[in-house]
Symmetry: C2
Subunit: 288 residues, 2 copies
């Protein structure tokens, strides 16, 4: 059920992203943007569409916001994979942009995908201007120097720090690097509906942390063919992770507790939130 | 008169940018953003504030839009200066971000300054949500894969092309790389006022092209101490420029014609547009 729904989301958001990119002037930049914007789990898009559905907002209406958050996420991956950052040559099973093209193209593709994300938030079908400007502001707060980019900067700084990060430090890092955009995605429906975001924020914060812990577990236990990226990288680099700080068993327990907390936060929405509950189960059961 | 006005704009927009950056979480990323956002001519901010003034929009009201375009411009410079792009070690007379920090910081500072630009466009004091979302959409179109970033990509591609660019190609490149953001800046007042942008677009397109031709002239005739960047770089790299394509004298004539065209476009605004007329004169008379 959940995986079928995720598959539907993947198809719909890919079509929306492809259409947005197809409207850009043709050429190498557009080709590389399309390449970087393909594939992925589309968990963030799923959260946007499912939170929108809670408030009776149709998929057709909410799709530009789902595509926006995926464009934003894709930009962060392209920049994060660059040699001066995490230096990854494989992403979603394919060569990264700086490998397939070059570093200059990776900088520009990331830059243009970020811009596209904000442009998509302006799409008139999303609703009244008041809601759309709120969406832009929330996306900016989630993705910039108080959210995702801050998390990336803390992550890079940790690499050259004399001692590994502590649990509070790595929790703050995660809250920025992956948590903020997951929170934005889950709140998007409430933003578009102009209603209280608090239950969705609680859900998303637990989900986001569980997601990161699961990522750290996959880095230890994962299968390169399934994850589409190199495995054991964090451990090789001597990076502190939730697994290195908590131990593998405690990390798994903590992720499971967080999934329960995420599910509980959805109580106000009743049965309508079943897909979101299933998503929380999925993040710790996934193999990629 | 014009230079005194530009100086006022510099002071006001710097204060607005500093205040916006000071609201971000403290740390190395914020410090590097503040560093990258200092200095510069602030011509784009000037255009925002002067075009706003044409429609009775106060400086206090329009300042967040002026700061937004300067944050956007600053991001583009940080990324453009990186080794994989133009590889500049000096900007505005100071070491570039990747020299003073490192390449990872340059990627992140640029990313976060772009986000900040869109965040600033959401500032409630700019006016009704309808105007602000229009501003966001216009900034996205001007700065992304159909504007500035496209121009950058064409510029990078030209470096490895077998033959130098032709005049139509370099004109298209410039229209993206510097022209689109200058047009956005000049249109910003009309966007905030919800009125016809056409005369300001005509003004800005002529101004932007004159500005780029003047830049190419400065690359040949400029003084490193005054420009704060290396001189003769384009010629050394065998890059086509307006000077290499037209010759120095014809480039100067063309720039002068464009300044007249820019001035003529302002006729509908009468005496209120005097500062904008003076700006057009300034771009071809400047020494940096």
């Amino acid at each position: 059920m959940f995986e079928a729904r995720l598959q539907e989301v993947q198809t719909a958001v890919q079509a929306e992203l492809d259409a947005a990119i197809a409207r850009l002037p043709e050429g190498g930049l557009r080709d590389a943007m399309a390449y970087a914007a393909q594939g992925g789990k589309r968990l963030r898009a799923f959260l946007v569409l499912e939170s929108a559905a809670l408030f009776g907002i149709s998929e057709a209406q909410a799709l530009p916001a789902a595509a926006a958050v995926e464009a934003l996420h894709a930009y962060s991956l392209v920049h994060d994979d660059m040699p001066c950052m995490d230096d990854d040559d494989l992403r979603r099973g394919l060569p990264t942009v700086h490998v397939k093209w070059d570093e200059a193209m990776a900088v520009l593709v990331g830059d243009a995908l970020q811009t596209l994300a904000f442009d998509l938030c302006c799409t008139p079908s999303l609703g009244p201007a008041e809601r759309r400007i709120e969406l832009v502001a929330a996306l900016a707060r989630a993705s910039g120097a108080e959210g995702m980019v801050l998390g990336q900067a803390l992550d890079i700084a940790a690499e050259s720090a004399p001692t590994p990060l502590t649990l509070p430090e790595i929790t703050r890092l995660q809250a920025g690097k992956t948590g903020a955009l997951i929170r934005f995605s889950a709140e998007a429906g409430a933003i578009l509906a102009g209603t209280d975001r608090a239950p969705l924020a609680t859900y998303a914060d637990a989900l986001g942390l569980a997601f990161q812990i699961a990522d750290d577990i996959l880095d230890v236990e994962g299968d390169e063919a399934a994850t589409g990226k190199r495995v054991g990288k964090d451990a090789d680099a001597g990076k502190a992770t939730f697994v290195s700080l908590l131990g593998l068993d405690a990390a798994k327990s903590r992720a499971a507790e967080l999934v329960e907390a995420a599910e509980s936060a959805l109580a106000p929405y009743g049965a309508a939130a079943q897909n979101l509950r299933d998503a929380a189960r999925f993040v710790i059961a996934r193999r990629n």
